[in-house]
């Protein structure tokens, strides 16, 4: 079981991060980052606040004091080479790392002000608020209809009958899948194409009305057309959900995200609005990575 070690002392108030400035949040910089005077844009709300997050897999430290805020109803992309900690960090946001036996975490992750690592937090409830879409589509071995209806029924989001029918249709429509599956709702979800399965998984995720959708390389197993459909969907969903996407495809990060964070060796190197990140990064490491001159 994961040991969530949260410091006993009072947690410093996190100022709204000024995303127009470069951020380097590693080691001792964290203290400066959380005591800074930047007030940011008051009209922008931070849905997720990560403070000095450190994570170990056994003896190996995978995250080195990450501090960053993720804005509500924007798309934030995590980029970086393999092993940089981006997926690990993503999984911290809905406590997926709890399932890893020798994983230890220090620091704080807040969802809309609530520390998600507090003992009283119901992890199942947390995961309805923070949904996740994985690299490989993983529909339930059930019908298309049941893939959507299953979680809302368990969590009491909707009852059987017309209310559920309506929810299923709404979610499939919002995932851009309704027209393709409306005549085969009783067929297994696994019979769909890869791209359709991924959109089914997104429809399933939004069915429980989460605040945040985490996407871990959601298009890496898809062809370009299916990828474009997912990207189009992300663009629409950000009006209602906060989306965090891990991607190895930098053009995808540049296309779909509003903010981009670059990680290297478990540290947050730079966090910028996406346009700045891909045209004028401030850090040499970022520049080298996104121009393909890394290592």
């Amino acid at each position: 079981m994961t040991e969530a070690l949260i410091s006993d002392g009072p947690v410093a108030r996190i100022p709204a991060v000024n995303l127009s400035s470069p951020l380097t949040m590693e080691g001792n910089d964290v203290a400066d980052a959380i005591s800074g005077e930047s007030e940011g844009d008051p009209t922008l709300n931070n849905m997720i606040a990560i403070e000095n997050l450190r994570l170990w897999y056994g003896e190996h430290q995978a995250l080195h004091g990450i501090t960053m805020n993720i804005r509500e109803r924007y798309v934030t992309a995590f980029i970086g080479p393999s092993g940089c900690g981006k997926s690990t960090l993503l999984r911290c946001v809905n406590r997926m790392n709890d399932r890893i036996a020798d994983c230890r975490i220090q620091g704080r992750v807040s969802l809309d002000g609530m520390d998600i690592y507090e003992p009283k937090v119901d992890v199942v409830r947390l995961r309805t608020r923070v949904g996740m879409v994985f690299q490989k589509p993983n529909p339930f071995p059930k019908t298309i209809y049941e893939n959507i209806a299953f979680a809302p029924r368990i969590h009491g989001v909707a009852q059987k009958g017309s209310e559920m029918d309506e929810l299923v249709e709404t979610c499939l429509r919002r995932a851009g899948l309704w027209d393709e599956v409306k005549d085969k709702l009783q067929q297994p979800g696994t019979a769909l194409s890869g791209g359709q399965q991924q959109r089914l998984c997104i429809a399933r995720t939004i069915a429980v009305r989460p605040d945040v959708i985490l996407m871990d390389e959601p298009c890496s197993a898809l062809d370009p057309i299916a990828t474009a459909k997912i990207e189009e969907l992300i663009d629409e969903l950000k009006n209602e959900f906060t989306i965090v996407i891990v991607t190895h495809n930098m053009q995808q990060a540049a296309r779909v995200s509003d903010y981009t964070a670059f990680f290297y060796l478990g540290a947050l190197v730079e966090y910028q609005d996406t346009n700045t990140m891909f045209t004028s990064p401030h850090k040499t490491q970022t520049e080298d990575y996104i121009t393909g001159r890394f290592g």
């Binding site: 996104i290 121009t291 393909g292």
Partner: protein
């Protein structure tokens, strides 16, 4: 700068700069030739300058094509993107400069007085030639200070142009029979002034390429401050 993982990309960026260098050289050659024709009244030389414009146009197209290919095949980002973007803007300015050189050469046929009678024109010529030489060096050395000097120099060119026009006006009033010649020289001065503006654009794109700040429509003082800020960041 570290080498790109894909060596072909670096090779193509070098090829892009090689083509821009060729275009710079040809354009400088054309300005020089056009002014020489003006001072010597050599219409054959003026014709030669005009015929060389095709090579400049061909280079512009070739550079744009390479830039398009680079974008499609490599999706450049950050400094690479700025280099490719700057290249496409700079070649447009170089092509326009070459066109202006042809326009200048075209005035030879209307001249029946020596251009040396307007001393300010020589001043403009020297300034503009120094400006384009500076812009070329700044681009290839990625030298923002040198680019900034080129931009500052544009003010001097503009002042020289105004002085030139005042002299020309006086000469036109004094010898109305030669008004066509002085109008032609006035066009030469105007052409040099516009060339100065295009060279300034090139210097601005050079600064953008190197320090990532957009400096078009920004005062030289503010540009200097941005360069200083960048130095402090580095």
């Amino acid at each position: 700068m570290p080498r790109h993982t894909l060596s072909r990309f670096d090779t193509e960026l070098v090829a892009l700069d090689d083509l821009i260098l060729s275009m710079f050289k040809l354009t400088q050659h054309n300005i020089k030739g056009a002014l020489k024709a003006i001072y010597s009244g050599d219409e054959a030389l003026a014709e030669k300058v005009t015929s060389q414009d095709e090579a400049v146009n061909a280079l512009e197209v070739q550079i744009d094509e390479l830039a398009r290919r680079l974008i499609v095949t490599h999706q450049p980002a950050a400094s690479d993107l700025r280099q490719v973007f700057a290249a496409t803007k700079i070649v447009t300015d170089l092509e326009r400069i070459s066109d202006l050189a042809i326009d200048i050469a075209g005035e030879v046929a209307r001249l029946d007085v020596g251009a040396e009678r307007v001393g300010q024109l020589k001043v403009m010529q020297k300034l503009v030639m120094a400006q384009i030489k500076g812009a070329r060096k700044a681009y290839f050395d990625r030298d923002v200070e040198a680019a900034h000097q080129v931009i500052e120099q544009d003010g001097v060119v503009n002042d020289a142009y105004e002085a030139c026009q005042r002299v020309m006006l006086t000469l036109m009033l004094e010898s109305t029979k030669q008004i066509t010649s002085y109008l032609a020289l006035s066009n030469v001065a105007a052409g040099l002034g516009r060339i100065g503006d295009h060279i300034t654009n090139i210097a601005e794109m050079t600064i953008y390429m190197v320090i990532r700040h957009e400096v078009r429509h920004v005062s030289p003082e503010r540009i200097q401050a941005l360069i200083q800020e960048q130095d402090d960041d580095d």
